[in-house]
């Protein structure tokens, strides 16, 4: 049996879900028998591969870059997993929604800075007016709520996916878990 190609993607989130992924510790070695990480912020791959079996996406869609990225991921992925509350529900990144991006940028780059007060407009991608969960942009196959979903949850879900077993997400995790 060939190994499943797994990618992990980091959009607007705190990387906590990726930390949780690493928290699988020695179980990562067991997983390595079943899966192969082909793209991730924690491996050295620059381009998203052409064919991926499972993509774990952390983070909400907050910028035009995120939107482009998630659409590309979807186009090359068989099973797309929304990993963690940001991807599932917007979570902390979406807390700016009631105020709008201008207020947030002003706070970060003008009010709280003493030198070179200016809102970046060239290097940093433009923000979307509203931060939204990824399923508002692309079809999501599995939702894993949790902030972050525990290492145990990730392990259970990944092994279930790799072995084709059904899994009851709600028995493992919840919003804010």
């Amino acid at each position: 049996m060939s190994k499943l190609k797994v990618a992990t993607v980091w959009l607007d989130g705190c990387s906590g879900c990726h930390m949780s992924f690493l928290d699988m510790d020695e179980r990562l070695l067991e997983l390595a028998e079943l899966i192969e990480i082909v793209y991730s912020p924690i491996v050295d791959a620059k381009e998203f591969p052409g064919e991926v079996d499972i993509a774990l996406v952390e983070g909400a869609v907050a910028s035009v870059d995120d939107e482009k990225k998630i659409k590309k991921v979807r186009a090359h992925t068989r099973t797309l997993v929304a990993m963690g509350d940001c991807a599932v529900a917007g979570n902390v990144p979406s807390m700016r929604n009631p105020f709008g991006p201008e207020a947030i940028l002003n706070r970060a780059y003008i009010e709280n800075t003493t030198t070179q007060q200016q809102i970046p407009c060239v290097v940093v991608p433009n923000l979307l007016k509203v931060v939204r969960p990824i399923h508002e942009f692309v079809k999501v196959d599995i939702f894993l709520p949790g902030c972050p979903p525990s290492a145990n949850t990730l392990y259970t879900v990944l092994t279930a996916l790799a072995t084709g077993q059904p899994v009851d997400i709600s028995s493992l995790t919840r919003f804010g878990a």
């Binding site: 509350d85 529900a89 979570n91 902390v92 979406s94 929604n97 969960p133 919840r174 919003f175 804010g176």
Partner: protein, 237 residues
Amino acid sequence: MTDAVEVKTLIIDDQEVSARRGQTILEVAREHDIHIPTLCHVEGLSNVGACRLCLVEIKGSNKLLPACVATVFEGMEVVTNSERLRRHRRTILELLFAERNHICSVCVSNGHCELQTLAQEQGLTHVRMPYRNPQLSVDASHDRFTADHNRCILCTRCVRVCAEIEGAHVWDVMGRGINSIVITDLHQDWGSSTCTRCGKCVQVCPTGALFEKSKIGTDNPKNPDFLPYLNLMREAR
């Protein structure tokens, strides 16, 4: 036979149970360890039938009845957990999550929230609707408590406990429809209101909307269990 002991026999989820006349379906179900999800109901306060999570099916009728207020009748057959009911319950919970800014991960009640627990229990893993992200205030004017309207689900437990148990009627609802909010007095700050500082509203609040300052739910979970006891003491007087 007097009214008080008149017995009704009915079936809840294929289980034959007996009940006293005038009992609600919810009361009878709980006596027999049959779980019906609730949110606006809390033992010891009046029922308003507002959250619609306790809706049950009655065989022979297409109408769904709120178990918290619908009373039993002889020969009634109740279904508390059909696919149709589960679908409605999930949709109602989704509506609540999308209505205001419920960010579980940063909430004082994370881990002790009835809304969060219900979502997990009902198998809700995501919300299909667009989040409304309203801009709502946080009233921290009270020296002991805070009201965060972003987390309020308008169950009106605070309104009822304040009026019915404490007898102060500080809380009430203002506005209509999607713009409704709970207010203290005539929309004064909580801190300068006629609040008696009893804290019952905080204890009955199912979410993190009302909380005690400088305490988080993990150390200090809410506990509305004092209500039946208070009512019992009152009846004894």
